[in-house]
Amino acid sequence: MPIDFSRTDQDDVSTLRIAGTLDVNTAPQLAPVIDKLVDDRRSRVVVDLSGLDLIDSSGVAALVALYKRSRVHGGQVTVTGARDQPLAIFKLLRMDRVFSA
């Protein structure tokens, strides 16, 4: 039930697939992957959360950091596939507005 993630690059789109739980315990594991995506100045990052079961505010913070830091160099971050508890959290924090732009 912990985290499982993978990055796939195709042309100028990177897909970051995150499954399982993204929370205070697992977000630190994702941090290097986020750092690398930002360092690589990817122009588009699609975060696929269709396998994500559970998120907490630390997990949201990790995704917001990816979004904000990518924006600095003009990179675009979108989130797809959120469902159940993660979708409820995104709606509550009005993240759907940001991430699906």
């Binding site: 907490d56 505010s57 508890q85 409820a88 959290i89 940001v98």
Partner: protein, 158 residues
């Protein structure tokens, strides 16, 4: 609150012990729903499809994080007590810790338009539950309550 409906956990309070406490709350939510509705055998896993479970598990997770990080400052010998009262119309969590106390009323609401990277935990808990009460201690006491949707919806939805 009859003794035979109460579930009580005392556990070390650390990020390592977080999943154990969250699991217990998730299972209690499932129990609480069974009391309301006919047993839904397909959704008794950890999958948080039900909004009732989603609300309680999300809120509890945030309060738990805060106790580990803010009340105890990741202290090693920390413990937490969780009392779960599975009532007919609602589920109440009482959470006790012996870490530092704080002034809940003084915590500002986050400015969601600014895309904050912190300060969202208490907002999540308050928005998802019917009651989030805090009494500074020792022990500090959190009381989190979620009512079933079918049981007495808040006046604003009427």
């Amino acid at each position: 609150m009859s003794a035979a409906s109460v579930i009580r956990l005392t556990s070390p309070c650390s990020l390592r012990h977080r999943a154990l406490a969250v699991r217990l709350v998730a299972e209690a939510c499932r129990l609480a729903r069974d009391e309301q509705a006919p047993r839904d055998e397909r959704s008794a896993g950890y999958d948080l499809h039900d909004p009732f479970d989603t609300a309680l598990v999300s809120a509890f997770g945030e309060i738990y994080n805060n106790i580990v990080l803010h009340a105890y400052g990741r202290r090693e010998d920390a413990t937490i007590e969780i009392v779960i009262d599975v009532g007919p119309g609602s589920l109440t969590l009482e959470i006790r810790d012996t870490g530092i106390a704080f002034d809940l009323g003084a915590v500002p609401e986050p400015d969601l338009d600014a895309l904050p990277e912190g300060g969202m935990g208490l907002h999540i808990a308050r928005a998802m539950l019917d009651e989030v009460a805090y009494e500074p201690g020792p022990p500090n006491l959190w009381r989190l309550t979620k009512r079933h949707e079918s049981a007495s919806p808040p006046p604003s939805t009427r």
